[in-house]
């Protein structure tokens, strides 16, 4: 049985991801197109929220991926700290802008939905606030990557920042909960509830979530490949200058 660590070899990683990238990207596109079209045009309007309810198909999946993106970075950082595989550090680096974009999508769609529903673009609600803080964490993480020239130093520092940041992100989440009561409704989906959102909305939503997950994976694969190749190119250029 092949070990998962063989993908720590950059060449193996590129080979494998090259092979599966079109499938991941393709199925992501399919799931998103089908899910969004189904969601937007073939589900009834909610009797209270009208057609604004349909933004759920962008809002929930992107919010989900904003958090999972950070968790993925956390895991990749841990792997870098423990086993020092460069691909892992690069994957964490590659995931950050994608995760930050997901956070922005979640915030913006939330604001667009909140304007007609709550009558305000923004409220200092715990969920909204903690997402804003999560976005700040993403920004700091990316800025630290960009600021350090030595690649290994940058990987080390950012992974420690990611670990410490995760703890503080969780702390902030609870602190913010304590600080203000919320407007935001409870989780739309959870595994331990009998019924989540009504069935008509449920299936296209699942499809959209799958689409966003696959989109995230595809983007991270692509960006990691780019990082690996950029680093190779720098090494080649440096060698040429020497030789």
């Amino acid at each position: 049985m092949a070990s998962i660590w063989q993908y720590a070899n950059p060449r193996k990683f590129i080979e494998t991801t090259d092979r599966i990238l079109p499938w991941v990207a393709g199925s992501s596109l399919m799931a998103l197109v089908v899910g969004l079209v189904w969601g937007f045009f073939f589900t009834p309007d909610d009797y209270r929220q009208g057609s604004t309810v349909k933004i759920i198909y962008l809002h929930v999946p992107s919010a989900l991926m904003a958090i999972n993106g950070w968790i993925m970075m956390l895991v990749a950082s841990l792997i870098w700290i423990v086993r020092r595989h460069h691909v892992s550090a690069l994957a964490a680096r590659a995931a950050a802008p994608v995760g930050a974009t997901m956070t922005v999508i979640a915030l913006v769609t939330g604001a667009i939905w909140g304007q007609p529903m709550w009558g305000t673009w923004w409220a200092w609600d715990p969920r909204l606030t903690s997402f804003l803080i999560l976005f700040l964490f993403y920004l700091g993480y990316m800025a630290l990557w960009a600021a350090i020239e030595n690649d290994d130093t940058a990987a080390d520092l950012t992974s420690v920042l990611c670990l410490v940041g995760s703890v503080f992100a969780v702390l902030s989440r609870y602190a913010v909960n304590f600080w203000n009561q919320g407007l935001h409704q409870g989780a739309s989906l959870s595994l331990d509830k009998e019924e989540n959102v009504a069935d008509v909305f449920y299936h296209p939503l699942l499809l959209c979530i799958a689409g966003f997950v696959l989109l995230f994976v595809a983007l991270v694969f692509l960006r990691t490949q780019t990082e690996i190749r950029a680093r190779r190119m720098r090494a080649l250029l440096a060698r040429e200058r020497l030789g």
Binding site: I133, G140, A147, D156, V160, G165, Y174, F178
Partner: protein, 218 residues
């Protein structure tokens, strides 16, 4: 360790700039607030705990890059790193020195500044207590940020971007405790949480700071 602490304190007091500057900055923030929101005492009373907490936090932030920068420039940080003192102890001492030169003066001066913002009488004790509990956390977290950015030439802005999100929980519980105290509400939960955060970061964060400092000195 004691020698290092006294050296840092002496440097901070004699070299000028670090010691009084935080306090002066705090005073300016407090002076500017009534200009920006208007001089009504009612309003000031309401926002005083929050403003004082924010001012203390910013004053703390301002002096963070001095924690390691000077020692880094003249090479004494490398010497300290090769000394028998463990790196964790080094960063803890640095954080303690920072707190003694910035945090503690802020705590002591706060009642005077609170007077300017017409804080109600009941609010003084909770405010000072919350700052006393919270500023050590600010120093320790700031030391982590300073250790992260020590090698960078223009680390100042980046340092703020990294450290401010980490300050969120401390600020929330600190300001909440001061606010509740000023309004005569029960503040036990906020106080417990604030103390928990402070002691937690004092116990754990020096390990992270030491590890990033080691990377930066490599």
């Amino acid at each position: 360790m004691i020698a290092l602490l006294t050296r840092d304190l002496r440097l901070a007091v004699r070299a000028g700039g670090g010691f009084g500057l935080g306090l002066a900055f705090f005073l300016i923030v407090v002076t500017l607030v009534p200009f920006s929101v208007g001089p009504e005492n009612m309003l000031l009373t309401k926002i005083a705990p929050g403003i004082l907490w924010l001012g203390a936090l910013l004053a703390c932030l301002l002096s963070l890059d001095r924690i390691f920068a000077l020692d880094w420039e003249d090479g004494s940080l490398d010497l300290l790193a090769t000394s028998p003192l463990p790196m964790e102890a080094l960063v803890s001492i640095k954080a303690l020195a920072h707190w003694l030169t910035t945090g503690l003066p802020l705590v002591v001066a706060t009642p005077v500044f609170a007077l300017l913002l017409s804080l109600p009488e009941a609010g003084y004790f909770p405010l000072v207590l919350s700052l006393l509990l919270g500023t050590p956390a600010l120093s320790v977290i700031g030391t982590f940020g300073a250790a992260l950015t020590v090698g960078l030439k223009r680390g100042g802005l980046l340092l703020s971007l990294l450290v401010l999100p980490l300050y969120v929980p401390t600020l929330i519980f600190g300001a909440e405790m001061a606010r509740r105290g000023a309004q005569g509400l029960d503040m036990t939960t906020a106080m417990m949480m604030l103390a928990g955060i402070s002691f937690g970061v004092i116990a754990l964060l020096p390990f992270a700071s030491a590890s990033v400092l080691r990377v930066n000195l490599r």
